[in-house]
Each structure stands twice: as structure tokens, then as C-alpha cells.
């Protein structure tokens, strides 16, 4: 009996005793790793904001539906009280994502800085590409908020987790623009001479989910971004010299400073496999839920009046409307009138098959049409009317064709077949009274033409670019329902900072709190 018990006791001891190794093994989470590379972190960085590039439910439903899509009247909606203050959810989430994305960039920088000089030189292209992509996203955030935490932001990991020294100050939006323009110019030159070892290029091709390792496209992306930033600040006195010289240099030296100039060159994250995490399956709910896909009256009327070939591919008629019978929702009607009109089932919607239900809809970064319109503005500013006109018209052509390109990759046909317009039909459109370059006699009138085309082109596809340009150009002239019940009676001109800044970055926030009003214009909105 005694022996049996001793055996039993020893077995129990063996079962229950723990070794030091067990403690070490159970300390880290088995699903995580303690080491990474520049390459993997580069992709981690690129995908960290994919939901704000590739159409996603959250970005469209929570952010755009109640903000930019309304402020630009790209969509129609039923008016309601308190509708002009950007929702906390939209502001906080977008901000939070940007700084998560930025900290992935900082981590990539940390890893890169830890490499030997040789390894650094080999992987330089990763840093350049990452920085270009970062600046694209950063400009959007500056254009929403103005001054933002920037040069000191995202440093928690670099500071070893010491939160007491990691709270960032706010940089002036002008300074951020300057820094980005300087860097991008440097990259543009550097990429003209850079050589990438074939071994590095093979990895870059895989890891680069934006341009698939195509250096030329990164050059185009870089210069197109420069054009976008320069254009945005073109009316700001201190940037005007820079605008003139750099835009002329870009437009005049396409071999040194290539830009996106054809739809095939559009910078976008293409959807390759719907079963991978990169897809546009959330677009449907994101745009369609709660009537986020209603057409707006001003846009529909403008397109109808000029027989726009994009109408059937961008929009679809209401269930009770006959073919070609497009209607947008009037933002100035009473709530009852708006609701009643919706009930007639005649309201047009954004085209399901081209847009919201197109699960292959790409994540648009820079399109040829946008670049052409910026070039047109650049030529116009240089008093080169002929080139301006050519750029304007090829911008329109690129825009029209691009919408049909979106449709050509779609996996949905519920909205019915569409036929791309012939060149003649496009020319007819360009000759329409509200489109025809020759009908505009002044520079201002020409800017209206460009602005209107940009507005239609951006629509709900590039809502933030759209809102920025509508604010900068005041084109089109939009009228909004007056919200009697709210202090904010009209749409805002910027977003306020998220609550997390007031609460957790209080000291730095207080330095900018005076300008934290949604009625405070961005520095580039000087008109």
C-alpha cells in the first residue's frame, strides 16, 4: 500500500511540476514574432491604411457618407438637424488609422536605421516608396485638419515605449507641405539615377502591393503627387514662386519628371483576388446603406444638360424611372418633399455594377484625369492656353474612359449593360456649352470648367480630393439647407481634432486649440 501511494504521489508531482523553460516559452504570444525585416514591415505599412484607399464599408459608411460626400453634394441625402458637424466616429477613426499607419512607417524607419550601410543602400527604394505613399496619405490628413502632429509623431517604439516623451507637438501645415515638397523633389531626382539590385528588385516586386515593383510608376506617382500638392497651395503667396518653377519643370521635362498621363498608368491598388484581404467587398454596404448612394441634383442636372457620356456608367435610373430619366435629390427641398420624392422611386443611384457592387473596384491613388486637370491649370497659369485646352480635354477623355474601365473589371451586371462611348461621342460632349473650353473667355471661367470636370470625375471615388478642390476653387457653387436647430448651420470647412488629442495630448493640443474650429479655413483656402 505504501509503495503504491509513493508511486501515486511521485506521478502527481511529475504531472504538476513546472520548469523554467515552460515559463520562458509561455511568455510571448505564440502567434506573434519578435523580429521582422524592412521588406515585411514595408508591406505592413502599405496595407495599414488599405481600408482608406481600397473602398471599404467603414470608410464609406462611417466617414464619407456623412462628410465629404455631402459637403461636395456628390450624393443627395435627406436633411436632418445636426447634420453638419462631422461625427466623432468618422473623425476619430480616420485619425487613429493614420497614426497607426504612420507608426508602422516609423517602425520601418527604425528597422532600416539598424541595418548596415550596405544593406541600407540596397533597400533605399523601400524607404523612398514608403515615404511617397506616406506623403500621399499625410496630405489628405493635413487637408482635413490643418496643423497636425507630424515630425515628432509615431515615435513611441523609437522611444522604447516611454510615453512621457512621445506625445508629439503639432507642426504648421505650411511646414509639412514644404517638407513633403522638398523630399518628393529629392526622390524624383534620386529615382532618376537609382539602381536596384536584381535580388532586391525580386523582393520589391512581391512586397510592393501598389506598383508591383515598377520603378517608373513610383516616379510617376512621386511627380504627380508633387503636382497635386503644388496645385493645392498655388494660391498661397509664399508658395507661388515654387509653384510656378516646379510645375513648369515637371510639365516641361516629362522624361525626367514623368507623371501619370494615361489610364494605364493610373496609380491604384488593384484587386487581384477577392479571397485575399485586399478587395472591395465592403463597398456595397458602405455606399448603399442608409441611402448613401443617392444622386445629388446639382451633379445630375449638370451631367444631363451636357449629355455626359459618364451618366449611364456612373449612375442608374430609379426603379420607376424610364431609360435615361435621371433625377438627383434637391438639397434645398423640405424634408417632407425629399422623402416624398424618394418614395416616387425615380431618384437615380450611383451605379451598382460600376461602383458599389464592383468588388474589383481598385483603390484609387492618382488618376490620369486628375493629373491632366492639374496640368491644365498649370498651363493656364503659365498663359499657355493651347496646352491648357489640350490637357483639359484629354483629362475629360481619360475620366470618361476610366469610368468604363472600372466597369470592365466589375463582377456585377445588375445595373445592365453599358457601351463605352465612341471618340465622336466624347468629342460631342467636349463641345457642349458648359464644357467647351472655347466658350470660356476668362481665366476664371476656364477654372470653372476645370473645377466642374474635376468635381464630376472625383465624385464619390476620391471624396477627400473632391472636398479639398471644392473648397479651394469654390467650384461648383453649392447651396445647402440651413440647419436652424444647430449652431453649425452650413457645412464645415475643416474637421476638428479628435477627442483623443484633447484628452491625451492636451499640452500640445492646447497650442492649436484656438484654431480648432470647423469654420476655420485651411491655409490654402484663400479665395
Amino acid at each position: 500500500m505504501k509503495n503504491i501511494f509513493l508511486i501515486l504521489l511521485s506521478v502527481m508531482l511529475v504531472i504538476s511540476a513546472c520548469t523554467t523553460t515552460e515559463f520562458e516559452e509561455a511568455y510571448p504570444d505564440p502567434s506573434k514574432i519578435s523580429f521582422t525585416t524592412v521588406e515585411k514591415q514595408f508591406t505592413g505599412f502599405l496595407q495599414a491604411n488599405k481600408d482608406y484607399v481600397v473602398p471599404s464599408y467603414w470608410n464609406y459608411f462611417v466617414v464619407y457618407r456623412i462628410t465629404a460626400n455631402r459637403y461636395t453634394q456628390s450624393t443627395g441625402w435627406v436633411n436632418a438637424t445636426n447634420q453638419y458637424v462631422p461625427g466623432g466616429g468618422a473623425v476619430n477613426d480616420r485619425w487613429g488609422n493614420f497614426y497607426d499607419f504612420l507608426s508602422q512607417y516609423r517602425e520601418m524607419q527604425n528597422i532600416y536605421e539598424g541595418l548596415s550601410d550596405d544593406d541600407k543602400a540596397d533597400r533605399r527604394i523601400y524607404m523612398i516608396a514608403a515615404t511617397i505613399y506616406l506623403y500621399d496619405a499625410a496630405q489628405k490628413v493635413v487637408d482635413l485638419h490643418g496643423d497636425i502632429p507630424w515630425s515628432e509623431a509615431g515615435m513611441m517604439s523609437a522611444n522604447g515605449g516611454d510615453y512621457t516623451i512621445s506625445l508629439p507637438k503639432y507642426d504648421k501645415s505650411e511646414d509639412i507641405y514644404t517638407k513633403m515638397l522638398d523630399d518628393l523633389k529629392g526622390f524624383a531626382d534620386e529615382m532618376n539615377t537609382i539602381t536596384i539590385k536584381s535580388g532586391i528588385q525580386a523582393g520589391f516586386k512581391t512586397q510592393d502591393i501598389v506598383n508591383k515593383g515598377d520603378l517608373t510608376k513610383w516616379r510617376m506617382y512621386c511627380n504627380s503627387l508633387r503636382l497635386r500638392m503644388l496645385t493645392r497651395v498655388s494660391d498661397v503667396a509664399v508658395f507661388q514662386t515654387r509653384y510656378t518653377s516646379e510645375v513648369n519643370s515637371i510639365l516641361g521635362n516629362p522624361s525626367s519628371y514623368p507623371v501619370v498621363s494615361a489610364n494605364e498608368e493610373n496609380i491604384q491598388i488593384k484587386i487581384f483576388d477577392l479571397n485575399s484581404p485586399i478587395n472591395s467587398k465592403g463597398f456595397r454596404s458602405g455606399l448603399e446603406d442608409w441611402g448613401g448612394n443617392y444622386a445629388g441634383k446639382v451633379m445630375i442636372d449638370f451631367m444631363k444638360a451636357n449629355n455626359d457620356p459618364r451618366l449611364p456608367v456612373m449612375f442608374q435610373v430609379g426603379d420607376s424611372a424610364s431609360v435615361g430619366e435621371y433625377y438627383g435629390l434637391d438639397p434645398l427641398a423640405t424634408i417632407g418633399e425629399q422623402e416624398a420624392f424618394i418614395l416616387t422611386n425615380k431618384l437615380s443611384l450611383y451605379n451598382w455594377s460600376t461602383i458599389s457592387r464592383n468588388e474589383f473596384f481598385p483603390g484609387v491613388l492618382v488618376n490620369a484625369s486628375e493629373v491632366k486637370f492639374m496640368a491644365a491649370e498649370g498651363y493656364l497659369n503659365a498663359n499657355n492656353d493651347e496646352s491648357a485646352k489640350a490637357a483639359y480635354e484629354s483629362g475629360i477623355t481619360a475620366s470618361i474612359k476610366n469610368y468604363y474601365l472600372y466597369r470592365s473589371v466589375s463582377n456585377n451586371n445588375q445595373s445592365g449593360e453599358v457601351t463605352p462611348p465612341t471618340d465622336a461621342e466624347i468629342s460631342d460632349y467636349i463641345a457642349q456649352s458648359q464644357v467647351n473650353w472655347n466658350n470660356a473667355t476668362t481665366k476664371e471661367a476656364k477654372m470653372v470648367l476645370i473645377g466642374m470636370q474635376k468635381w464630376v470625375d472625383f465624385s464619390v471615388i476620391q471624396p477627400l480630393e473632391n472636398w479639398a478642390e471644392v473648397r479651394r476653387l469654390n467650384v461648383p457653387t453649392l447651396n445647402f439647407w440651413v440647419d436652424q436647430a444647430d449652431a453649425q448651420k452650413q457645412p464645415p470647412v475643416r474637421w476638428q481634432y479628435p477627442d483623443s488629442e484633447k484628452t491625451y495630448n492636451t499640452e500640445n493640443y492646447n497650442a492649436v486649440s484656438g484654431q480648432d474650429k470647423i469654420t476655420n479655413k485651411l491655409f490654402w483656402e484663400v479665395n
Binding site: M1, F5, L13, I15, S16, C18, E22, F23, E25, Y27, P28, D29, P30, S31, K32, S34, T36, K40, Q41, T43, G44, A48, A80, V85, G88, Y99, L102, S103, Q104, I148, P149, G154, M156, S157, A158, G161, Y163, S166, T206, Q207, K212, F272, D273, L274, S276, I278, I335, G336, E337, E339, A340, I342, A487, D499, S500, E501, K502, T503, Y504, N505
Partner: protein, 1105 residues
């Protein structure tokens, strides 16, 4: 244990010889009126004695001047002088302060209760089962001082929180360790406050334990009591002992069955005067001057159909009960308030359970086997839960020195449609039904006649005629009904808690005990979301499978040594080792992109490659422990303990910590001569350290890794890493709680009055928390040791028998605990810590140095230099966006219970009250309901009768008082004006007129000053004090003579009610317990409920043979 002693006592007394001079007979009954078998009846100062028979009767021969001592372990001893009487009936009171009572303490060590130098509350089986609670925790309300229970709404499958001596962690877990028969079990925490993360109300591990199988519960409150559990014990320990066959001779069968009904209770007090709508000066929805919205239904251009504005504001036309108005569902109804609009969204829940237990015992051991079937419903539609519970508890002696104990508790459970959170209906405008709306109206409309989900407006549908086209419906109610009726969630789990213990008595003074145990749970979940729209419109619906497995493997070895050194001294020592491993594995797989075939519920119906998920975790901990105790003449007891802990959640370079404690007890009633009226007196003192480690995997910093798959033709898979934005900290230290405690226990007046009072004082240092930072710093939170908490308090239990006559008896227990918490220090000289910012800077939950944790701050009304409250031109107070004031604190000040038992002959009435005083909550949604004009609070000054002023609104939106029938330009005159007491911006008295609809709507609206500059969250914060009638039970024990004729040994019937009413309550429109939305204290501050509260009525039948 008690019964073993009893057998022992019986043996001795039977041997004793008797000197018969007179015969005395009588019946010994308990406070329940039932006879107690086996009570020792001894002639004082002799060996002469007997024990009572099964009916509690005894006969004894004694001298006529003898003193009889009636004693029973666990009950107060009674002495009676015979004085020639031949019949002496005695009622014995159960006692928590029995002199010889032996209790189970930490690590399963048995000790005499009198030797304990710390407070420990014990709750017996009877208290746990009398109102048929489905788990033991909800039977503990008010029953132990310093123990606060709060149950999340949702019934049998929802989590229950236990807080012992307040909250010991600023943001970490505050739930105690649960130990069943000496072995820690899986409990876990829940968070039901995140609707978008999980819509179903989850439970925790303790709710699986069946109260009918529990013998008693001991609660180790202070650090010294719990010190042997070291780093697991910062929140106290609940020791559960299950029933066994000990003390049974031969066979015994106990059967109990209960049926109960839950009904929705404590719904808000809705107003019944006004329907939906608002005046045109608020917004022009096309309504006419009276607030009606007219529609042209027949297309003749004339708007002939009367409707209402599709808003959730209830500032529209007054109800008259006659006007015919078309509701959102197209049906024309008389214009009247809908009384049960919300109640109709819930069901009456019927629950039942049956337990049958067989106990047997003999020379070589004993065992008990029980089977329980519970069928539980919840008020959430279609929610059902069924449990089959088997419990086996055996003890066998192998010879004189070896004992094997085996306990197995098996719980098989199926849950169909776990209660669905009503968060969207209550905590959200989108779900607030107007007073002209009714849950019943939604049943025919949430689903189309083809079985698809409802479609609104001009949405695509096969049945466009059924589209919901008129405003006024609440999309969230439609979604809710779809979810509770159509979405099917089935969970099946099997849980085994088993425990094998071997004890070897090596020599008289030394024994060794070894134990292995496990708590294994395997759970499978199937979730079927039906197709929401025809396939032609796109794929929808989904199906997923998930499995969860959790294993705790536990072992300990312990040697116990005890030696009497001299007549007056005994020393004892315990040394041991314990180790524990916890493994969790989750696997899931589900459809992606909807179902390929309508309502085909299988993963194979996935449109795209199915989603899958997996996670696993391992936690390892071990400890060496030892105790040394010393006892002098049975009235001074001193014990010291020490434990050295290791855990895998800490950096392996620094993961071992030592937790010491010491406690002493002095029985002055034994040591000193006491007056007659003092029966018992004991002083206690103790000190100890316990701790808490960071949560699993939180300290380590590592990269997430994942793949994007192949992203190009012929490409390679794209692998990537990201850095988490919740930062860990390899240098984190464990939390450490350092607590001392003093106590006094006394019994007076032949045990008719007893008190037990404790004072404790604890410091909890190095609080671990994920400190929230601005995401712009590169992380959203950083794991940090921050600050020191000081908790102190007094616990008091008074026990009395105020009335005792032959047939009637009233026994009462008052539990009271007062608790004070102070944040002593925060790291780096910071003087406050922000827990939560509510509703865009409207209110904040902070912990401020020098104050109790959980201060609620909000913005005050702006004050003019002259002191007046500033009113802006809208006529409403301006909120001072730049200032914060403290408007409350989330910690309760005092809690407790008042327990009464009234016995009249065979009838017993138990009435249990529990109470809470002090502390505030912020039930935001109740205020938002006021803002929508839904509650009676929003009726004042809404018309002339209630004091509203008459005014008109001119073209510039300026309101001016008038006595005329119309404004100067024929404007409409309204009668709900008010002029707030205050000053205008220039300091002159306010004369701006506000409409009451705007006043309510805006003052109680959502949002901080930047969103809503006149919304006053300071008004939202309310004191949360209450006295609740928690349990009421009427029991009747049928007469033995009658019962024995049908072959039973006893039969009892009872009727009971739970959560019946409030005697006092400071929070309107809700049961304050509804605020419990998670396990952590800050999840119980601003929620108005994830499910409605309920009242329960039931009956039970209990018999033995």
C-alpha cells in the same frame, strides 16, 4: 466535516453511563422548525448523555436539578436547567461562530474557526437554494458583509460580478479567484458594453456551478486570509465546497424541483401625452401648423392622408385618442400613446429545474451522486438554455492511513440564442420608439412575406409593396427583431471539473496530501444568419462554426505536521508546492461573402473562400508555500504563511515574487472571566501581502504577422508585419496589495445576539494598466505600473433573535460594509488618470490623486462675473466648455443586506433586502429619452396647464412672449415657453424665451459642448442608492407524521420571489443593476442596460427519503 465530528461525539456519548433519577423528553428543532437528528444532549459536568433521533426527539434520565447541554456542530449550544420539568423543547440556532467549528481555509487546509486571525464569511447551502437562483453568486446578495454582487441582465447565461472589499484595481480585473474543492476553476470576465464587438450577452465560468450541489461557500476577504494564493488573490478568494456523502448512514435521497417565471420589470416611466413631431421652427419637414404631415396617397394631387413627422422627437400633437393617423406601417390608428411599446419586444421566461441526489455512507467511505436538469429561458425572445449537471463526490479509506477522495462535476449545457443586447434600443436614438409606435407593429414587418429581411424606402425587393416607406419606424427595432427571431446561435458545451486527492497519514503528527485536478471545457458554436435578400440581388446571410477549448491542469503536494509540545502549546507546519497550467484554444470557420444557396447553413455554402480564425494561449504558474502555526492553551493562535510565486505572464528574467502573511486570534472569553451575558469573545489581527500579474501576453512586445496571399499572376505570397498599437512593457512589476485587518467577534445573551466587526486597511501599489495615450504618439496605450490605491473599510454583521416565543421566532442578520477608496499616487507626478471620455468631451471618468477612483466630471453652466448662470439667445444655458467640475463618483459608499427569517410553527418566511448607498452613475440613455420627450420628466411647461408661457416666433427665429391669439404678423402662438433663471451674456437678467421642446431636446441631448453647446451632462449624473426587496420566500414543512405515511422523511413546499420591488431608489426609470455591462467597474457607469431587468416568481418542492 460537521457530521463526522457528530458521529464522533455520538460514539463517545453512547459509551457514557447514566444515573437515572428523572426522565426528560423533548424535541430539538432548528430555526426552520424541523427536528434535528443527532443533537448531543449531555448532563453538564458528566458523561451522561444521548442524541436525538431522526425526528429530533430525545429521552434522557437525569437528576432533577441537572443542567442539560444541547449541542450540535455549527449551531449555538443551549443550556437548560431541568428544574423538575419532564419536557424540554429547544430551538437551536445555526451559528457562524461555533466554538469548535472547523472550516476550510486557503489551499484546502482545515482549521478551527476560532483560530482564524482574519475575517471569513461562510454561507451555507440553505441560503443558496431557497429562491432557486441558477448560480450561487446571485444567491449571495447582501449575505456577507463586504461582498457586493452585481449581475448583468440577461438571466441564467449572463455573467455575475463579485466584488470583495471594493475595487482593488484601477483598470484591471476585480473578480475574485474561485476555488472549488481546493482547486482554482475557470471564471473569466465579460464585457457586454461593446455592442459592435459582440451583440450577445456572455457569461462567466462561475455561473456553471449548480447551487444545489454546494455545501457551503467561504469567502476569504483580506490579504492575510488569501495570502496562500499569492498573486491570484488581490481580489479575494471564494472557496466553494461541494456536497458529499459524509455523515450519511446507508442511503438517503433528496429531491428538489423549482419552477419560476421572469417578467420584464423596471421599464422607464413613459409620458402618454404627446406624440412624435416638432414645431416648424425646429425643422421644416413639411408639417402643418398643428404638427401633422399630410400625404397624397391616391396621386390626385391632394394630400388627404394624415400622418406624423418621421422623427424620434416627441414634441408633436397631443394625444386625443380619436384623431385617425397613419403610422409608419401604413395602418391608420387612433392617435394615442402606446402603453406597452417596449415590453412587447420581450417574452415571459419560464425556467425550471430538478435535482435528485443520492448519498450513501459506511465504514470505508461515503459518496454522493446528484443529477440536475435546468431549463432556463430569458426574456430575450427565443433565448433558451438547458443544463444537465452530474456531480459525484466520493471518499474512500484504504486501511487506516490512506484516503482517496474523488470529485467530479460534469456540466453539459446547450444554449440557443443567448440573449441579444438591446443596446441599440436603449442606448441609442435610432432605437427609441416614439410614443406613437409599438413593438407589436414590427412583428409583421421585420420580414417580408417571402422570408427576406425588411426593405425600406425604394430598396430592391421582390415584394416592393411591402417596403417600409413612411417615416417614423425605428430601423434598430426592425434589426433587433430580425436578429432575435431569425438569426440562430447554438452553443453546446461540456465542462468537467475533476479532482483526485490522496492523503497519507504517515505518522500521527505528519500527513502528506497530493492532488491533481482539471477544469476542462469544450464548447462548440454554430451560428446561422439567414439569407436577407434574394440571391439575384446579391449574396447575404452566413454560417459559422467555432470551437473553444479550455483546460486547466492543476496539481499540488502538501505535507502537514502538527505537534503538541507541552500541555499548553501546539505547533503546526504546512509545506507544499502547487503548479497550474491553463491552455485555451479557439478555432472558427465561416462563410465569406454570403450564402451561395438561400438558407443553406453550412460552410460549404460560402460564396468566397471561407474565413477562418484560430488562437491559442498557454499560461503557466507555480508556487512553493508554507505555513507555521502556534496555539497556546486554545485561546491564543498565531499563524504565519509564505508563498513564492512564478508566472509566465511576466518577463522570465523577473517573474518570481514572495507573498508573506501573519495572523493571530485571541479568545478573551476563554482567557478571561466574562460576565454571564457574554458567551463568546475573540479578537483578531492580521497582515498580509497578495498580488496580481499582468494579463496573458500583455507584457511582451512583438510584431503581428500575416499574409495578403498572392497579389499578382505568378507572384509569391505577400507576407507582412505590423507593430501593435497597444504597447507592452517587459519591465512591468506585479501589483502588490499590502493589507492589515483587525476584528472582534462576540456573542451575548445566550447567543441571541452576536456581532462580528472588522476594520481593514489596504494599499495596492504598482497598479498595472494599459495607460491610454494619444494615438499620434505611435501607440494607443502603453502597459504601465501606475499609482497606488488605498482601500479601507469597516464590515459589520449583527445577528439577533429579537423575538422568540413558543410558536414564533424572528431571526435577523444585518450586514453592513463601508468602504473608502483613495487614489494615493499616480506615476510621474501626474495627478489624474483618465478612464473614459464620454460622448465627445461631454463627461469624463477620471481617477484623481487624493480622491476615490472613478470621479465623474462634466462641464458646468457658464457663470457671469456677477454669478448668474449665462443663458444664450436660444434661451438655454450655455455650457462652459473650458471648465470641468466633479459631479459624482462611481464607487459605492456603503453596501449590505438585511436578512430576516420569521418562523411560525411549520411556516417560515424569509425576507432578504440588499442595499447600496452612495456613489453615482450616469445613465445617459435615460437622459436621451428625456431629450426625445419620451419620459414623464419631459412634461413640465409643455402646455399652459403645466406652466408653459405663450410666445410667437418671428421670421428671424426670435421668440417673443405674447398674450394675443397670434403674433403681430399673424404668427402662430405656442404655449410651451419658458424663461430660464439666469443672466444674458452682458450680465442683465435673462429674458430670452425658450420652447420647452427645445429645452428638453437640447439640454438632454447627446454630445459635448463642441457638438451641442447647451447640453448639460452634469444633470445626467445621479446618485445610485437603493434598498431592494431581493428575496422573499414562504416555506411550509408538512408535518412529519403525514409525510412519513407516504414514505418520505420530509417534504417542504415554498413560494418565492426575486427582485420584487424597491423600498428606496434614487435612480428613476431603471433598475440600477441594469448598469452592469461588464466585469470591470468602469463598465458599470453609463450603460442603461443590455437587457431589461426582471422580476421573478416561483415555487419549489423539496423532499427526502
Amino acid at each position: 466535516m460537521r457530521k463526522i465530528l457528530l458521529i464522533f461525539v455520538m460514539c463517545i456519548t453512547l459509551i457514557g453511563s447514566a444515573f437515572a433519577q428523572q426522565s426528560v423528553t423533548g424535541t430539538i428543532t432548528g430555526d426552520d422548525g424541523l427536528g434535528i437528528p443527532g443533537v448531543s444532549v449531555i448532563q453538564k459536568g458528566t458523561n451522561n448523555g444521548t442524541v436525538t433521533n431522526v425526528d429530533g426527539n430525545y429521552t434522557i434520565s437525569v437528576p432533577s436539578d441537572a443542567v442539560l447541554v444541547f449541542s450540535f456542530v455549527g449551531m449555538t449550544t443551549v443550556e437548560e436547567t431541568v428544574k423538575g420539568r419532564s419536557k424540554i423543547d429547544v430551538v437551536l440556532l445555526s451559528s457562524n461562530i461555533g466554538l469548535d467549528e472547523v472550516v476550510v481555509t486557503a489551499m484546502g487546509v482545515s482549521r478551527e474557526k476560532k483560530a482564524l486571525g482574519y475575517a471569513m464569511s461562510t454561507i451555507e447551502s440553505k441560503e443558496l437554494t431557497k429562491v432557486a437562483s441558477t448560480n450561487f453568486a446571485t444567491a449571495l446578495y447582501g449575505k456577507a458583509p463586504g461582498v457586493r454582487v452585481s449581475a448583468a441582465p440577461g438571466g441564467a447565461t449572463s455573467a455575475v460580478n463579485i466584488n470583495i472589499r471594493g475595487v482593488n484595481s484601477i483598470t484591471g480585473s476585480s473578480q475574485p479567484l474561485i476555488v472549488v474543492d481546493g482547486v482554482p476553476i475557470r471564471d473569466g470576465e465579460v464585457n457586454n458594453s461593446n455592442y459592435w464587438g459582440d451583440q450577445r450577452l456572455r457569461g462567466n465560468g462561475l455561473i456553471d456551478l449548480n447551487p444545489e450541489d454546494i455545501e457551503n461557500i467561504s469567502i476569504l476577504k483580506g490579504a492575510s486570509a488569501a495570502a496562500l494564493y499569492g498573486s491570484q488573490a488581490v481580489n479575494g478568494v471564494v472557496l466553494v465546497t461541494t456536497k458529499s456523502g459524509k455523515g450519511t448512514k446507508g442511503f438517503k435521497v433528496d429531491v428538489v424541483t423549482n419552477v419560476s417565471v421572469d417578467k420584464v420589470a423596471y421599464l422607464p416611466d413613459y409620458q402618454d401625452k404627446y406624440g412624435p413631431g416638432y414645431p416648424t421652427f425646429i425643422a421644416n419637414a413639411g408639417q402643418d401648423a398643428d404638427g401633422w404631415l399630410w400625404r397624397d396617397l391616391n396621386g390626385d394631387g391632394v394630400k388627404e392622408s394624415r400622418g406624423h413627422v418621421g422623427t424620434n422627437l416627441n414634441f408633436g400633437p397631443a394625444f386625443d385618442g380619436t384623431t385617425q393617423v397613419m403610422a409608419w406601417d401604413g395602418i391608420v390608428r387612433p392617435w394615442q400613446a402606446q402603453k406597452d411599446s417596449y415590453a412587447s419586444l420581450f417574452q415571459t421566461a419560464v425556467s425550471s429545474n430538478v435535482t435528485a441526489a443520492v448519498s450513501m455512507g459506511g465504514e470505508n467511505g461515503n459518496s454522493r451522486f446528484s443529477l440536475t436538469r435546468q431549463d432556463n429561458e430569458a426574456v430575450s425572445l427565443n433565448a433558451k438554455n438547458a443544463r444537465n449537471i452530474a456531480n459525484l463526490n466520493t471518499s474512500y479509506k484504504l486501511g487506516s492511513k490512506y484516503t482517496i477522495d474523488f470529485v467530479l462535476n460534469f456540466i453539459n449545457q446547450t444554449t440557443h440564442n443567448r440573449p441579444y443586447s438591446v443596446d441599440r434600443l436603449w442606448n441609442n436614438f435610432g432605437g427609441m420608439m416614439t410614443r406613437f409606435d409599438n413593438g407589436e407593429w414590427y412583428y409583421p414587418r421585420y420580414k417580408t412575406s417571402k422570408g427576406y429581411k425588411y426593405v425600406t424606402g425604394t430598396g430592391q425587393s421582390l415584394t416592393p409593396d411591402e417596403n417600409i416607406i413612411y417615416g417614423g419606424y425605428r430601423g434598430d427595432v426592425l434589426d433587433y427583431l430580425w436578429s432575435v427571431n431569425e438569426v440562430q446561435l447554438d452553443e453546446t458545451s461540456n465542462r468537467a471539473i475533476g479532482n483526485l486527492t490522496n492523503t497519507w497519514q504517515i505518522v500521527d503528527d505528519l500527513k502528506i496530501r497530493a492532488r491533481v485536478a482539471t477544469d476542462y471545457t469544450s464548447e462548440k458554436t454554430e451560428s446561422a444568419n439567414p439569407t436577407e435578400r434574394p440571391l439575384a440581388f446579391g449574396n447575404s446571410g452566413g454560417f459559422s462554426l467555432a470551437s473553444f477549448q479550455s483546460t486547466i491542469l492543476y496539481g499540488d503536494v502538501m505535507a502537514t505536521y502538527s505537534k503538541k509540545i507541552a500541555d499548553d502549546y501546539t505547533v503546526g507546519a504546512v509545506g507544499g508546492y502547487t503548479a497550474q497550467q491553463e491552455k485555451v484554444q479557439n478555432l472558427s470557420r465561416g462563410t465569406n461573402g454570403g450564402l451561395s444557396t438561400e438558407n443553406l447553413f453550412d460552410v460549404s455554402a460560402s460564396v468566397n473562400t471561407p474565413n477562418s480564425g484560430s488562437s491559442r494561449s498557454t499560461l503557466v504558474k507555480d508556487a512553493f508555500f508554507g505555513t507555521l502555526n502556534f496555539d497556546f492553551r486554545n485561546f491564543v493562535f498565531i499563524e504565519g504563511t509564505v508563498r513564492r510565486d512564478r508566472t509566465s505572464t511576466m518577463n522570465p528574467d523577473n517573474n518570481a515574487f514572495v507573498y508573506p502573511s501573519v495572523n493571530a486570534s485571541f479568545l478573551f472569553s476563554e482567557a478571561l472571566t466574562m460576565p454571564d451575558w457574554v458567551d463568546y469573545g475573540k479578537l483578531r489581527a492580521s497582515w498580509g501581502i497578495v498580488g496580481n500579474y499582468p494579463d496573458l501576453y500583455r507584457a511582451n512586445i512583438a510584431y503581428n504577422q500575416s499574409t495578403l496571399g498572392v497579389q499578382a499572376v505568378g507572384g509569391n505570397p505577400v507576407l507582412y508585419t505590423t507593430l501593435p498599437t497597444s504597447f507592452g512593457n517587459d519591465g512591468i512589476r506585479p501589483e502588490e496589495k499590502n493589507e492589515y485587518e483587525f476584528g472582534l467577534e462576540m456573542n451575548f445573551l445566550k447567543n441571541r445576539l452576536g456581532i462580528d466587526v472588522s476594520y481593514y486597511n489596504a494599499k495596492i501599489q504598482d497598479q498595472i494598466l494599459p495607460l491610454t495615450t494619444a494615438i499620434s504618439s505611435g501607440a494607443g496605450s502603453v502597459l504601465t505600473n501606475i499609482g497606488t490605491l488605498a482601500n479601507s473599510g469597516v464590515e459589520l454583521m449583527v445577528r439577533a433573535v429579537p423575538v422568540q416565543t413558543k410558536d414564533f421566532r424572528w431571526e435577523a442578520i444585518l450586514n453592513f460594509s463601508k468602504y473608502k477608496n483613495v487614489v494615493e499616487k499616480l506615476t510621474d507626478g501626474a495627478d489624474e488618470l483618465l478612464h473614459a471620455d464620454y460622448d465627445g468631451g461631454a463627461a469624463q471618468l477620471r481617477s484623481v490623486v487624493g480622491q476615490p477612483m472613478g470621479d465623474i466630471y462634466s462641464h458646468p453652466v457658464l457663470r457671469h462675473e456677477n454669478g448668474g448662470m449665462v443663458v444664450d439667445p436660444s434661451g438655454l444655458y450655455t455650457v462652459d466648455a473650458n471648465n470641468w467640475i466633479k459631479v459624482g463618483n462611481a464607487m459605492p459608499k456603503a453596501t449590505g443586506g438585511f436578512l430576516n427569517t420569521f418562523t411560525y410553527k411549520s411556516f417560515t418566511l424569509d425576507a432578504t433586502f440588499d442595499y447600496r448607498f452612495g456613489g453615482e452613475i450616469m445613465p445617459t440613455a435615460i437622459n436621451w429619452m428625456i431629450s426625445r420627450g419620451l419620459l414623464v420628466d419631459a412634461l413640465d411647461k409643455r402646455d399652459e396647464e403645466s406652466g408653459g408661457l405663450a410666445y410667437y416666433v418671428d421670421a428671424n427665429d426670435v421668440k417673443t412672449l405674447t398674450s394675443g391669439a397670434a403674433g403681430p404678423n399673424g404668427e402662430l402662438v405656442y404655449h410651451d415657453g419658458r424663461i430660464l433663471d439666469g443672466v444674458k451674456a452682458d450680465g442683465t437678467p435673462n429674458d430670452y424665451v425658450a420652447s420647452s421642446s427645445e429645452y428638453y431636446w437640447i439640454t438632454y441631448n447627446w454630445g459635448g459642448p463642441q457638438y451641442s453647446p447647451n447640453t448639460r451632462y452634469e444633470l445626467f449624473v445621479k446618485e445610485n442608492s437603493y434598498v431592494k426587496m431581493r428575496e422573499l420566500v414562504l416555506r411550509y414543512a408538512l408535518p412529519k407524521s403525514w409525510v412519513s405515511r407516504i414514505g418520505l422523511s420530509n417534504l417542504e413546499v415554498s413560494a418565492f420571489g426575486r427582485n420584487l420591488f424597491f423600498i428606496y431608489k434614487t435612480i428613476d426609470h431603471m433598475d440600477p443593476e441594469q448598469a452592469t455591462a461588464g466585469s470591470r467597474w468602469f463598465q458599470t457607469v453609463n450603460n442603461v442596460g443590455t437587457n431589461p431587468s426582471t422580476r421573478t416568481f416561483g415555487g419549489s418542492l423539496r423532499f427526502s427519503f
